[in-house]
């Protein structure tokens, strides 16, 4: 059983801006279609290791990006994942 964390964005612009910033910062992440079990305004989300989500969030906020939501998904094969919404607001 594996856990992955996701950050969602209000628009595609912010998703791609996040990707551009994090690439320069050498962060480990992947841009993926938003899982069906998460509701998001934009179809692209950022997936990362759960231990990295806080530092990735902090980097993005430094660049004044609008972020929509933070999630931890318990994923097992093709089963519907168990979704936990994270409250990462300081």
């Amino acid at each position: 059983m594996a856990y992955s964390c996701y950050i969602t964005f209000p628009t595609t612009f912010f998703a791609i801006r996040a990707e551009s910033i994090l690439k320069k910062e050498s962060a480990v992440f992947k841009m993926v279609p938003v899982p069906r079990s998460i509701s998001s305004s934009c179809g692209t989300a950022l997936r990362c290791k759960c231990e990295d989500i806080n530092s990735i969030k902090d980097t993005l906020l430094q660049y004044e990006l609008d972020l929509e939501g933070f999630y931890r998904l318990k994923e097992e094969g093709f089963k519907t994942p168990i979704v936990e919404e994270l409250d990462l607001n300081d």
């Binding site: 209000p10 628009t11 595609t12 612009f13 998703a15 791609i16 801006r17 551009s20 938003v34 305004s41």
Partner: protein, 395 residues
């Protein structure tokens, strides 16, 4: 092209209409749209697959390159439009409300005059024109006296497409801001060939086109809107985000963009922006200044030829306008192409008030607009052709 001017003519760049659209383009600009359509042909923001993301990345990189060009920190403040006219319409109609007063200069293009004229005829706004000198420079003394309580916007044509005269942006922006008036800069003739620092000058909005000095394809352009300024969208529709809502997203850049953008064109524009970045805008500016001075000096010698606009040492973009005695401008343009293969533009250049300011209304002028790729050899050929034409007319 005829071969009457010797074998060298075919090797020269005889395109002197860069103020209308630039040519040639860097080789990468020709190739990029094809590559985009073949390899990255997804619809940005609409799906989650790789091609869509590649198209999204292209838009982002282009926004970032434009933001760098204008020294803008946040690429979200750059929106893409069809051209400069579209950007000016979005800016003008998006920032004004009923009862507002607008200032504009006599050098404005119809892309400003007509949207303002439409709002004026509908009784929504009032306007005052800032007169310009016979060289095309705005009267700053008049500007100081023109502000009213309702004045909301000052529109400045950065460089005239008739004379090339460059408006003193810094002084005009300072003046407008002192009176709490917003500034919209029409940079159709200057984006890519003159340094424009939106942050340092505090400009509120810049409208630009992609197919002139930015060396990109037609159908590309955009608008910079400063942070904190929320324009009312001219168009609403699909953006790929917040699809469940029946209202258009409020955040930039989607706020001012609806429907699928010109991705193939923007791929070309990005290569134009990269070329400018590699070359350096100061290098471009220096070369263009040298070419204009040389052209101006060569034409100054010709009898019966009258030059308009800034002298060779005054602030100007790469444009020189002239007339020859009372000869029809269209006829001169025809002879230049028919006998010498030289392409230029004649007439009013969509800027009737500018021609009134310099005293060439309604006949207009012959406009020569070389570009970054024009050489002194090209100018020599052009000057020799005009020497023959003026001699012929003098007889």
């Amino acid at each position: 092209m005829t071969d009457t001017k010797g074998p060298c003519a075919s090797e020269l760049n005889l395109y002197f209409d860069n103020a209308a659209t630039s040519w040639p383009k860097p080789e990468e600009v020709y190739r990029a749209p094809e590559k985009q359509m073949r390899q990255a042909c997804g619809n940005p923001g609409r799906s989650g697959h790789t091609r869509t993301l590649d198209a999204d990345r292209l838009l982002y990189d282009t926004r970032e390159a434009v933001a760098n060009l204008f020294n803008v920190k946040d690429p979200a403040r750059i929106v893409f439009t069809l051209n400069a006219t579209d950007a000016l319409n979005i800016a003008i109609k998006g920032c004004l409300t009923s009862g507002d007063h607008v200032l504009y200069t006599a050098m404005e293009h119809n892309s400003v005059l007509r949207p303002l004229g439409g709002l004026l005829r509908d009784g929504n706004i009032s306007t005052t024109m800032i007169p310009c000198s016979s060289k095309g420079y705005p009267d700053l003394g008049f500007l100081e006296t023109a502000y009213q309580e309702e004045t909301r916007l000052l529109v400045i044509n950065h460089a005239s497409n008739v004379t090339g005269s460059i408006a003193p942006l810094e002084a005009m922006v300072k003046s407008a801001h002192k009176h709490k008036v917003m500034v919209l800069v029409d940079a159709a003739q200057t984006a890519g060939s003159q340094r424009i620092d939106a942050a340092a000058l505090g400009i509120d909005m810049i409208a630009f086109t992609g197919h002139k000095s930015l060396l990109g394809p037609t159908g590309t352009g955009g608008l910079y809107v400063r942070p904190g300024l929320d324009l009312k969208p001219l168009r609403e529709g699909g953006t790929g985000s917040q699809s469940e809502l029946d209202r258009h997203p409020e955040s930039m850049p989607e706020r001012l963009e609806a429907g699928t953008l010109n991705n193939a064109g923007l791929a070309g524009l990005l290569e134009g922006l990269y070329f400018i970045d590699r070359t350096g805008i100061e290098t471009i500016q220096e070369h263009e200044k040298m070419i204009r001075s040389y052209l101006y000096e060569r034409l100054q010698e010709l009898p019966g030829l009258k030059l308009y606009g800034p002298a060779s040492d005054e602030p100007a973009s790469l444009i020189v306008s002239f007339t020859i005695n009372n000869t029809d401008c269209g006829e001169i343009g025809f002879i230049l192409e028919n006998n010498y293969g030289i392409l230029c533009r004649t007439g009013l250049h969509c800027a009737p008030l500018a021609h009134k300011a310099i005293g060439t209304f309604p006949e207009g002028t012959v406009r020569l607009s070389p570009g970054y790729f024009t050489t002194r050899d090209d100018i020599d050929y052009l000057a020799n052709a005009l020497k023959e034409i003026t001699t012929l007319i003098q007889k």
